[in-house]
Symmetry: C2
Subunit: 305 residues, 2 copies
Amino acid sequence: MSLLVVGSVALDSVETPFGRADDVLGGSATFFSASASHLAPVKVVGIVGSDYPFDELKRTFANRPVDLAGIEHANGSSFRWRGRYRHDLNVAETLETHLGVFSNFAPKIPASFRKTPYVFLGNIDPRLQLDVLSQVEKPKLVVCDTMNFWIESRRQDLINLLGHVDAITLNDAEARQLTETNNLVKAARWIMAKGPRFVIIKKGENGALMFTKDGVFLAPAYPLEEVFDPTGAGDSFAGGFMGYIARSGDTSESNLRRAVIYGSVMGSFAVEQFSVKRLLSVTPQEIATRVAEFRKLVAFEDILA
Amino acid sequence: MSLLVVGSVALDSVETPFGRADDVLGGSATFFSASASHLAPVKVVGIVGSDYPFDELKRTFANRPVDLAGIEHANGSSFRWRGRYRHDLNVAETLETHLGVFSNFAPKIPASFRKTPYVFLGNIDPRLQLDVLSQVEKPKLVVCDTMNFWIESRRQDLINLLGHVDAITLNDAEARQLTETNNLVKAARWIMAKGPRFVIIKKGENGALMFTKDGVFLAPAYPLEEVFDPTGAGDSFAGGFMGYIARSGDTSESNLRRAVIYGSVMGSFAVEQFSVKRLLSVTPQEIATRVAEFRKLVAFEDILA
């Protein structure tokens, strides 16, 4: 079954201790699609300016089940993000954010996209995320993402949105900020009390925690020796997670756990190169191998008393 | 089989958001013993001053296989640590450290302790840790701990010590500081190149990583809703780890993994109350239940392509 993603389609300029890249393909919807399209067809809704290298985006996804028909072309400049990572690759330093046409983004879901069963609301204004939901027809699963900016500036709208989604993904700092609670178990419970039936807290190199009514699942992060560029890891995680669910059509607890592992696997590939490069080159065999490595990473045999 | 621990026997005064405790039993050897003695007999080498409530320590371990005959009684005041945790319980703020008789500690291993097969060198001057090794006879396994203070002040001695131990436990910040490497996979490799056959990097609420020649094992931290006092978690982890190995007499890769889980389990109990209180009240059944919960925390069923 297919996926709908609404989010940013941007140009990133990134400096890491290992190199730099200028005006490369980025944005939450781009990373999400590059990741999820290994598992299920993806329909993208976003906006680009007149300066966007759209042909490059088309070529990039030419051999992938990624439908770009929902990307609006507007007059003006595209969303650009410029950032730097120093030695602590967990911390992105934003040098410049240029919203351009993204500041007037009002997602319009094409008629042919409205019955998509699995919906991911990338990190945009929660009022727009809610508006997207009014344009889709009875999706099976809706997951939203967010960030500190919206928690600060649109707190009540975000809390309102929580009443309309099945789940939210956010990082540990965002979970603490949103819930004003330091303990992540309590933070997850706070969020679930507002509506979502599960919460995924992403912790970068420390893995991810999924909280459901049944308990907690902890997915490790793959201990990479070379993290080249962390940009897009969270959206790639979301792509792997949603892609696995869309492929299987199963939102049971045990399948959600498998989906979290696929999310972690795709996130671990995303950071190996700039932009979506590694997500595009990775093969089904490499994905399967890394899933097996994740299993080995946490495996311990039965303990006898 | 039995364990030898050399470390501090202290009095802690701790403030957390949930309460305070003054002059309670603390120190690396104390936490280690309270934890490990659930699994194997422990022989303690340390030093206390004339003001130490030694009867309280004896009563505390009265029903445990903990041999306190290696604790030296010196004239002067005992080692005291006073610290505070604010809302981020991962960060201890040291308010006062009073070394007292600990500043002249020169561990003397009693003759009856010298053939102990499993040795844990708690966090003391690496020159003293090495000196302990000259006093023991062919132990089966030697594991040392350390801290930022020794990495800064006794760096070369610590590196020298690495050539004489089987393993080291240290936290992620310490691993980065010692190896001058941000990436933990590289940091572990750096340490193993100096001698140890395995390295355990403790990450507090983010679990622990064990690096061996065969690969990496990731143990989750138990997602506790109430962390009451994190003091002693690392030493309690070491106690569970070494205790499990001493009980089983097995240092194979698969048994080391089980031991890491026992370490994580005992660490998770340690933080539930002040001092060693929870470590003393915990039952074998509670330990077994939490081991099972750790398994459930990371379990995911086979993924089919």
